[in-house]
Symmetry: C2
């Protein structure tokens, strides 16, 4: 009775996010990006996390003369989609509408966002 597929763990996601922002980079690059975000892990910690991400196929790496360069393989959209689906299943009891209402109410949307959303809904209806 295996559990459902696991989410990318928090620390690994942090690293993957750094790669999304920079596009690609070496361990040292990623470390720098994490520092800019106020995190200060050891160099080898980042190395370990990138290794785990690679093992599960979330990043690839290519051997460059100097150091390995890592690139994201799993997109932000992909991860967001998975988490949203899980959220709908687990906390919305399969209904997306309540969560959408919650999101709309709790977060400030720009007028442009609202227009775009209304337009989309209009087409759906």
């Amino acid at each position: 009775m295996p559990m459902e597929e696991r989410d990318i763990p928090a620390a690994e996601l942090e690293v993957l996010r750094a790669l999304w922002r920079t596009g690609s980079g070496t361990v040292r690059d990623v470390l720098g990006e994490l520092r800019r975000q106020g995190r200060h892990p050891a160099y080898t910690t980042v190395l370990t996390l990138l290794g785990r991400l690679e093992k599960r196929g979330h990043v690839t790496r290519s051997k460059e003369p100097a150091a390995h360069v890592y690139r994201p393989r799993t997109s932000r959209q992909r991860v967001a989609r998975d988490r949203l689906d899980r959220l709908v299943r687990q906390l919305g009891e399969g209904q997306a509408a309540p969560l959408i209402l919650e999101l709309v109410q709790a977060h400030k949307l720009s007028v442009a966002d609202i227009r775009q959303l209304r337009e989309l809904l209009g087409r759906l209806e």
Copy 2:
């Protein structure tokens, strides 16, 4: 440099969800509800999970003559809200709009849902 507050772990959430559905119940009640959902943990597993949920304040229990009765203390809304916020921060880079669009597109909404949502957006605009 402690990590951010942790989410309720998957197995514990499963148990909490059972309590949300039943309103309250004994370990055995929760076990029954989980079975209805197709899960088959051991009795003591459920006991352990309820204990952990209680330790973190997500459920309370009161001693009844027969067995302890557990009640949810953390609401579904609360958990949904926390996860959505986290999602917006981590995967939306602070912007809710892209996630909302994603949700609207990926899930079937009833006509009534769409109307309600459009109405809400109209007021916001």
